[in-house]
């Protein structure tokens, strides 16, 4: 049981082709499903359709009971918007308490504001708040109605990095035992929040699974690129992996690729360091592999500039400098092969 949606909806804007969302999502009770996809993939439209904001065909049901046909106010959901959507003419408390008069079973909005650390803002109006504060108030407003399902539309996208991290942690805690659908284009947020992930593209769900499954075994080069895998020409890995004749593209996560000592004599593959960038936890090293026959062009959808035989990997300390020659090991069992470059 839980939320189940199998919907088809068509959206038309002036002067643009019609955009069709045609997707099926299932969310178990208490589970958080993250819909991950690039901008323009229809994630937000899907979420709004489930909420009842748009006409659609198909079925939306909760614990076996059909919700389509019901107005949004009768579905028992909570919704957190990317741009907060707080009522500008109401105070923080009035915003948080907005839905409580319509639902008998609700929580005390003051308690929620205190839990979320914004109790001191009670009498302020939304336009005077910072982005992080606004989103906490919006979260309180949604939680106050004890929603049967929480719908969240990129609630962190408009925030600064430190604010985003703090709120992400709180969100992950809040969503722990709530049935939720969470839409984002950020893979780190997706992994932090998700029990399961559905990857969306062009209005359709292209892969669903646990974060582990989606990140480690992407169903297509697009999913691989969007979840942060290296996507390279399969030929470049011929030295380490058994590559069938029809395999065009290979994906491997950067955290599984390792530097090996020496200039390649000990490693499975050799190459030259193109870049070294310090990220939060480690250095991201980009290596141009010495490949005999790299494919000239590889279109992976999300990353046009993915390069043909270029691997990213992480090292914690002492990163090699750009231009240095290095050996690289790729564990064969971590490589996913695709027949076509898509």
């Amino acid at each position: 049981m839980g939320l189940s949606a199998d919907v088809t909806a068509t959206f038309t804007a002036d002067g643009a082709d019609a955009f069709v969302v045609d997707a099926t999502v299932e969310v178990e009770r208490g589970e958080s499903l993250v819909v991950l996809g690039p901008s323009g993939s229809g994630k937000t439209l899907l979420l709004e359709t489930v909420a009842g904001f748009h006409d659609h065909e198909g079925v939306v049901s909760l614990d076996g009971e059909a919700l389509n046909g019901l107005d949004p106010e009768d579905r028992g959901f909570g919704f957190v918007f990317q741009d907060y959507a707080l009522f500008p003419h109401l105070t923080v408390t009035e915003n948080a308490a907005y839905g409580t008069r319509y639902r008998d079973d609700h929580r005390d909005p003051d308690d929620l504001l205190a839990e979320l650390g914004v109790a001191d803002l009670c009498d302020r109006y939304p336009p005077t708040l910072s982005g992080g504060e606004k989103q906490r108030v919006a979260l309180a407003r949604a939680l106050a109605v004890r929603p049967k399902v929480m719908l969240l539309d990129e609630p962190l996208a408009a925030l600064d990095v430190p604010t985003r991290q703090a709120l992400r942690d709180d969100l992950a805690a809040v969503l722990d035992d709530v049935t939720a659908v969470y839409v984002t284009h950020n893979r780190t947020t997706a992994r932090a929040v998700a029990d399961r992930i559905a990857v969306m593209r062009d209005g359709q769900i292209v892969q669903t699974g646990t974060p582990e499954a989606v990140f480690e075994r992407p169903a297509s080069p697009m999913v691989a690129a969007f979840t942060g895998s290296n996507v390279i020409a399969a030929d470049a890995l011929r030295g380490v992996v058994d590559v069938p004749a029809d395999a065009m593209t290979a994906a491997v996560r950067p955290e599984h690729v390792a530097l090996v000592d020496g200039t390649g004599d000990g490693g499975d593959l050799t190459g030259e360091v193109a870049r070294s960038v310090r990220e939060d936890a480690a250095h991201r090293i980009t290596v141009d592999l010495d490949a005999d026959d790299p494919r000239a062009e590889l279109s992976t959808g999300a990353v046009a500039d993915g390069g043909d035989a270029r691997l990213s990997l992480f090292v914690a300390d002492d990163p090699p400098a750009p231009g240095e020659r290095v050996g690289v090991s790729v564990p064969p069992e971590r490589v996913t092969l695709f027949a076509a470059a898509e």
Partner: protein, 255 residues
């Protein structure tokens, strides 16, 4: 080069400002205070000014009453909307005297409602004024509704408020400024209307509150025109000055 561009634009713009401002300044400067005082004390003029504010107020309220719901529907969008939009905007381009003729054809003798008399009546005057001013009320209210982020209404409904409750607690409070502006615009437009009123209701009988009885008078712009025809420029100028003062007050409300 940069400043030459600004100077050129400012010069051309100044010509327009002179064309708008100079006559206004000269109009004010050339008034005879004595004549204005005399007109301002004239009970006939009082009635005209009363009617010139009161009639348009009725028209503006009618425009809002029937126009705001329509504006709401237009802001949401519906099939066949374009036809309705055209109909709403049409009065903006109908020549004013033609608007009067159209009202007479529609609601005058042989028109839609034989029991209602419009020629030379208060009903006709308000109808004529509503005809020309309703587009302003509808368009301003519509803009106000459209400027509200859809997601605010989504947020209201998903958390339990019905369509009507959402309108009352979110949409209406956020749109009220724009709606009031639309009402004042419609009021101002009705105050300024001359052509349609002159055709439909040159002189009307109405209940004049200060005197507690029905009296006959003309809509203020008609009265100015009539004074011009019968009394000449000087005298009409004094009346126009008083009417302009009333318009200026409305104008300040609009801003």
């Amino acid at each position: 080069d940069g400043s030459a561009f600004v100077v050129g634009a400012a010069t051309l713009g100044s010509v327009l400002l002179v064309a708008l401002g100079l006559p206004l300044a000269l109009f004010v400067a050339r008034q005879q205070p004595g004549l204005i005082v005399q007109k301002a004390l004239n009970p006939d003029v009082h009635r005209v000014l009363y009617l010139g504010v009161y009639g348009p107020l009725l028209a503006a309220l009618a425009s809002l009453l029937f126009g705001v719901p329509l504006a709401r529907l237009l802001a949401d969008g519906f099939p066949g909307q374009q036809v309705i939009e055209s109909l709403v905007d049409l009065p903006l381009v109908v020549p004013h005297s033609v608007a009067g003729i159209i009202i007479l054809f529609g609601f005058g003798q042989g028109g839609a409602f034989p029991s209602v008399s419009v020629l030379g009546t208060m009903t006709g005057m308000v109808l004529a004024m509503s005809f020309v001013s309703a587009p302003y009320a509808v368009n301003a209210a519509r803009e106000a509704f459209e400027s509200i982020d859809d997601r605010l209404e989504y947020a209201s409904r998903i958390h339990g408020a019905s369509r009507f409750q959402t309108f009352r607690r979110v949409t209406a409070p956020l749109a009220v400024r724009g709606i009031v502006t639309g009402g004042v615009l419609a009021w101002a437009r009705a105050v300024s209307e001359f052509g349609a009123v002159a055709v439909v209701a040159y002189t009307v009988e109405f209940f004049y509150l200060p005197a507690g009885e029905s009296v006959r008078a003309q809509h203020a712009p008609v009265f100015v025109y009539n004074t011009y025809l019968t009394g000449g420029l000087e005298e009409s100028g004094a009346v126009a000055f008083l009417l302009l003062a009333v318009s200026a007050v409305i104008f300040l409300i609009v801003r």
